[in-house]
């Protein structure tokens, strides 16, 4: 094969690579635009019920999927949330399937 032929094959190869990836780029852009439009259409429908005033709860309800309330002793809610997430991760179990009774900070004397 001559150098000129090789050069032409190289140019054709680069053109094919660019064509394939530009085609993909266009497809992704179309996919994103279609997805965004669908989301925008769904947004007003979802916003309408949300706009209605929610009835005030008689008592503070538990979060959906929660497995009861946890009592905190000398522990702030942020630390407690972090500890529960770590325990759930270590046990490979969903957080809402675990029941925490209480979290207490152990202080050294």
């Amino acid at each position: 094969m001559s150098f000129l032929d090789a050069l032409l094959y190289s140019l054709a190869g680069m053109a094919v690579v660019f064509f394939a990836l530009v085609l993909l780029m266009c497809i992704i852009k179309i996919m994103t635009a279609v997805g965004d439009r669908a989301e925008r259409r769904a947004a007003p429908a979802a916003a309408a019920p949300a706009a209605a005033p929610a009835p005030a709860p008689a008592d503070r309800p538990l979060a959906p999927g929660t497995a009861g309330e946890v009592k905190l002793y000398d522990t702030d809610p942020r630390t407690a949330a972090m500890l529960m997430a770590i325990v759930a991760d270590e046990m490979q179990a969903p957080l809402n399937e675990l029941r925490f009774i209480s979290i207490r900070e152990v202080k050294e004397n």
Partner: protein
């Protein structure tokens, strides 16, 4: 027959005796040990290099009869069938069937797909252009292999694919176009991939200004789950229709990715990226190493291949960087050109190098996720380039 004769004949059948008359095999054993040292001690792509080096060691032990290149020559010439090779071949001949058929690289691609997050690419589709530009290395090396070193087009195409910085793609194409050169090409590809942190930074600093390297990029937009699921399906349909020869590689890559993203096939995704990937890596690396038989490997052309491989990597980096610079100008300084060098594939090493160089210029710069886009685009780009070369030179 006396005991002395018996012992004499026994000695003549030993590998040590045969080695005394075959300095080439001795040299190959030394090379295999050097590669084992690089893999085990220097940690150069150990998952593959150790297997390749050990396969090389096994195939060059005189009398081991584990791999027979002459059987494969006869198979390529149409004088033997695969059943004959299974019947007459050694262990490594049987393992090599998976390389020859393109099975192992495709299965490895399935595992790679199951491990890859195309989110950064979907968030910034322009990354695909950088992945395309970085394929310049493939065609630059192909051109030099023909124009300067006088290689046949098939071999030149296989050498060029080293610039794709993608081991399975290089093995897949070479096993079909130039099987005799499989070992040096695979070794060059994996060695340079391990050396990316040394190869790329000088070129990156040379081709970019400090101001360009300091560019901070905006955070990527979030990508929906639906988009991530649709992407592998759409890529498979469009790219495989455009270039059917790339279907085994790209199809498996996208199937693995669909396993990961669907959220319904976690077991399959886990198998593809762990158990299957590990098993295939063992088979692939040892059988590729086995093709490094002394008579074929110890050739000045092997040195040319190693040199052309380095040139391919450098040109791939240059291609990505130059388009990155152009995008920097066109975007009004919003795109850091350093992410262009990640288009060479070598996931995720090349993206890490972009991150390191960006952070070196500006410690508050976080380019990793931005560089992952061109990085995974490079995988698709090199597969497309391999498909093109196979379609043109595969007969």
């Amino acid at each position: 027959m006396s005991i002395v004769d018996t012992l004499g004949r026994l000695a003549q059948t030993s590998g040590f005796y045969m080695l005394a008359f075959s300095w080439r095999q001795l040299v190959m054993i030394v090379i295999a040990c050097v590669l084992l040292y690089l893999g085990l001690v220097k940690k150069f792509e150990p998952l593959l290099l150790v297997g390749i080096a050990f396969g090389m060691l096994l195939t060059n032990l005189p009398g081991s009869n584990m791999y027979h290149p002459e059987l494969w020559d006869a198979y390529i010439a149409g004088q033997l069938r695969l059943t004959d090779i299974i019947h007459d071949g050694g262990l490594l001949d049987i393992l090599y069937i998976g390389v020859k058929s393109g099975l192992y690289p495709s299965l490895i691609f399935m595992g790679v797909g199951a491990m890859t997050d195309f989110g950064p690419l979907l968030a910034n589709p322009k990354s695909l252009l950088l992945g395309a530009a970085a394929q310049l290395g493939i065609f630059a090396a192909f051109l030099m292999a023909i124009g300067i070193f006088g290689f046949d087009p098939n071999v030149a195409a296989s050498i060029g694919i080293i610039g794709g910085a993608d081991g399975p793609t290089a093995i897949w194409l070479t096993s079909k176009l130039a099987p005799d050169y499989l070992a040096p090409i695979a070794i060059a590809a994996y060695s340079y991939m391990a050396l990316i942190p040394l190869i790329q930074p000088p070129v990156m600093r040379l081709l970019t200004t400090k101001e360009e390297r300091e560019t901070k990029m905006e955070q990527l937009r979030p990508v929906s789950k639906k988009q991530k699921i649709l992407f592998p399906i759409i890529v498979t349909i469009f790219v495989c229709l455009l270039l059917p020869s790339v279907a085994p590689l790209l199809g498996c890559l996208m199937l693995g990715n669909l396993f990961k993203e669907s959220g319904l096939t976690d077991r399959l995704s886990d198998t593809a990226q762990n158990a299957l990937m590990n098993i295939v890596t063992i088979f692939l690396s040892t059988s590729v190493g086995a093709t490094a038989v002394a008579d074929r490997f110890l050739n000045p052309r092997t040195l040319f291949i190693i040199l052309l491989g380095l040139i391919a990597f450098e040109f791939a980096t240059i291609g990505g960087l130059l388009l990155g610079k152009l995008m920097y100008k066109l975007s009004g300084g919003k795109i850091n050109p350093l992410i262009g060098s990640a288009g060479v594939s070598a996931v995720p090493m090349a993206a890490r190098v972009s991150q390191m160089e960006g952070a070196r210029a500006n410690p508050s710069n976080f380019l990793l996720m931005h560089a992952m886009g061109p990085n995974v685009a490079g995988v698709i780009g090199s597969a497309v380039a391999a498909g093109f070369l196979l379609a043109v030179f595969g007969g």
